[in-house]
Amino acid sequence: MTVYLLRRLIQAAGVVLAMSLLVFLGVYAIGDPVEILISPDADQIERERAIRSLGLDLPLWEQYLVFLGKALQGDLGRSFVFNEPALRLILDRMPATLELAVGATVAAIIIGLPLGLYAGLRPDSAVSKAIMAGSILGFSLPTFWVGLMLIMVFAVQLGWLPSTGRGETVEVLGVRWSFLTWNGLSHMILPAINLSLFKISLVIRLTRAGVREAMLMDYVKFARAKGLSPNRVVFVHVFKNILIPVVTVVGLEFGGTIAFSVVTESIFAWPGMGKLIIDSINVLDRPVMVAYLMVIVLMFVVINLVVDITYTVLDPRVRLEGKA
C-alpha cells in the first residue's frame, strides 16, 4: 500500500508539472495583458518600466522557469488587478465554492441513492417511471435556465429564499462559512439545488442500473436461498456492490462541480472561485487564471487519489498487494 501510494504521488507530481506547462503556454497564447493594464496615454518609458516590473520582457522559457521556481515556494504571482497574491485571492474564495460543491454532492447522494434504489427494485411501478423521467429532465435542462427559474419561483414569486450572495457567515478556523448560520444556509439552498440537479440525475441512473444488474446476479439469489431477510439482501449484498460505481463517478464529478460551478455562481452572485475566474478572464489577469487552473489541477489529482483509495476499501478485488 505504501509503495502504491508513493508511486501514485510521483505520478501526480508529473501530471501537475505537465499541466503547469500547458496552462502557462495556454494563457500566454490568449493575449497580451499589457494592452489592458497600461493606460493608452502612458509614454514609451513608462510602458517599458511596467513591462519589466511584470517580468514580461524575458523570453518565454525564462518566464516559465521563474514561474515554476516561485510556484514551488507557494507563490503563484500577484494579481495584476487586485495587486494581491493570486493564490490568496483564490484561497479566500475557495471555502464558498467548496461548501456549495459539498452541499450539492451531499444532496445528490441523499436524494439520488434512495430514488435510484427504489427505481431499481420496482422498475415497473409508476413512481419509478416518474423518477426516471425526472432524471432525464435533470440531465437535459441547462443549468442557467434552471437557476433562473429557481430564482423566479422561490425568490421572486414565493419570496421563500434569498437569491444572491452568501448571507451571514461564521468564522471557524480562520475561514468564513455560510452553512453554519441559518441565514447563510438559506442563501445556499437555491444555488446548491441548482448545482446538484445534474448530479442527482446521474446518481439515480447509476444506482438504478447497478441495482437492476445486481439483482440478477447469482450471489443475490444465493443470499435469498440462505434465508436472509429482504432488507439484508438489498442493503448489504446489493448496496455494497452498487456503491463501487457510484463512489467512482460521484468522486470524479466532485472535481468537475468545483471547476465548473462558474455558471451557478454567476447566476446567484455567489462569491466563489468560479466568479473570480470569470472576472479575471475578462481583464486578462494572468496570474489569477494560472493560479486558479493550478489549484483545480491539484484538486483533481487529490480527488482521484482519494477515489482510488476509497475504491480499494470497497472492492476487495482491487485491493493492492499486502494486507490493507
Binding site: M217, D218, Y219, K221, F222, A223, R224, A225, K226, G227, L228, S229, R232, V236, H237, K240, N241, I244, L314, D315, P316, R317, R319
Partner: protein, 327 residues
C-alpha cells in the same frame, strides 16, 4: 414413513408477454431421507426451475401455477413468504452451479457465513463464527480460521464451491438442492465433491436433489433418477435400472450420446433436432418430432406418466419394454 420431499403435479409457468411458458408442467417425484435423486435433462428442460420452485425462489413473471410440494408433510406452496424464509438455508439449502458467481465478491467469507447462521439461530456472533469455522473444516478447507477472513476472489473455483457447500450445511438441512454444482469444476475436484456429497447424505440422513445434465455423475451418485424433457418428467425409476434398460426413447438417446469405452471408435449417436420452444408446445408428446418410434398416435394425445414395471415410470406410448425385459 413420509418422504422428506414429495412433489405432486407441480406446474411452474412464466407468464410472459409472448405467452405462457410452461417451464415445469405436471412434475411429480419424491425423495426420502438419506437418498439422492438425480434430476436430469438438457438445458431448458425445467430442472433448475423445479429446484427454485421447491425453495420458493421463482422470480416473476414466473409462479407456481399448480400442484403441491410436500416437505415433511407441509405443503410449501401454501406457506407465507416469512415461513418460507425460515426454511430456506435452514431446513432446505441450495447449492448453485457457478461457484465464481454465488459468493458475494465484496463481502468476506465470515460475513457471508455468520449472517446465514444468525438468520436462523439466536446466538452470539462468536458462536456463529465458531459454527462457520467448523463447517469450513468439515468440507475440507485447510486452516479454516484464517480462511474466514478471506474474500471469495482469494479462493479457487473448487474451494469456492466448498465454501458454498459449507454454507448450505450450516444448519444441517433436511434437504439439499444441488443445481449442477460440479459442472464448472475440473474432473478431480468434481470427484472429491461427489464423494463428499454421498458421504454426507448417508451419514446425516439428508435428502438430496442433484440437478445435472451429466448422466455419468448421476450414475455414480444418485439412488433414483428423474429424466426431464420440455418441462415434464419423461422417465423415472431406480438409477441402475433406468440407465441399464431405459423405457423412454429420450432416455435411450441421452445414454447413447454419452461417450463410452465399449463403443470406442464408433461415431457418437445423437438425438436429431432440437428441444422445442416451451412457448408453443405441440399437442401430444413433446419429443415425437425427434423420436425414432413416433407414430400418429403420439401426436393425438399427451401420454400420461405410467408405471410400466414396478417402480419404473415413463411418459411414452411406445416404451422400450423389450429391452427392460431382456435386462
Amino acid at each position: 414413513m413420509t418422504p422428506t420431499l414429495e412433489v405432486r403435479n407441480l406446474r411452474t409457468h412464466f407468464f410472459t408477454r409472448a405467452g405462457v411458458v410452461k417451464a415445469v408442467d405436471d412434475v411429480s417425484f419424491a425423495v426420502e431421507r438419506g437418498r439422492v435423486l438425480g434430476l436430469v435433462g438438457e438445458s431448458g428442460s425445467g430442472k433448475t426451475v423445479t429446484g427454485f420452485s421447491i425453495i420458493g425462489l421463482v422470480d416473476p413473471p414466473g409462479r407456481i401455477a399448480g400442484g403441491r410440494i410436500l416437505f415433511q408433510g407441509t405443503d410449501l406452496t401454501t406457506l407465507s413468504e416469512e415461513a418460507m424464509r425460515d426454511l430456506r438455508g435452514n431446513r432446505i439449502a441450495m447449492i448453485f452451479q457457478d461457484p465464481m458467481m454465488t459468493l458475494n465478491p465484496v463481502l468476506r467469507i465470515d460475513t457471508q457465513m455468520v449472517e446465514t447462521v444468525l438468520a436462523h439461530r439466536r446466538t452470539t456472533r462468536e458462536e456463529a463464527r465458531r459454527i462457520a469455522r467448523d463447517a469450513l473444516g468439515q468440507v475440507g478447507i485447510p486452516s479454516p480460521e484464517e480462511r474466514l477472513h478471506a474474500y471469495p476472489h482469494q479462493f479457487s473455483g473448487g474451494m469456492r464451491q466448498r465454501v458454498a457447500i459449507a454454507i448450505a450445511l450450516l444448519h444441517k438441512p433436511d434437504l439439499i438442492i444441488a443445481d449442477e454444482p460440479t459442472t464448472a469444476l475440473d474432473v478431480t475436484i468434481q470427484g472429491q465433491i461427489l464423494a463428499e456429497a454421498q458421504k454426507l447424505c448417508a451419514e446425516s440422513g439428508t435428502a438430496m436433489i442433484w440437478i445435472t445434465h451429466d448422466l455419468s455423475v448421476v450414475a455414480g451418485l444418485a439412488d433414483d433418477i428423474a429424466v426431464m424433457y420440455a418441462g415434464r418428467v419423461v422417465e423415472q425409476g431406480p438409477v441402475d435400472e433406468v440407465l441399464d434398460a431405459p423405457l423412454h426413447p429420450y432416455t435411450l438417446g441421452l445414454i447413447g450420446s454419452v461417450p463410452s469405452r465399449n463403443r470406442r471408435g464408433a461415431p457418437l449417436r445423437q438425438i436429431p433436432g432440437m428441444t422445442p420452444s416451451l412457448l408453443n408446445l405441440p399437442e401430444g408428446c413433446a419429443f415425437r418430432a425427434r423420436c425414432p418410434r413416433a407414430t400418429d398416435a403420439c401426436a393425438a394425445v399427451q401420454p400420461m406418466i405410467t408405471e410400466h414395471r414396478p417402480g419404473r415410470f415413463a411418459r411414452c406410448i411406445h416404451p422400450h419394454l423389450e429391452a427392460a425385459e431382456a435386462a
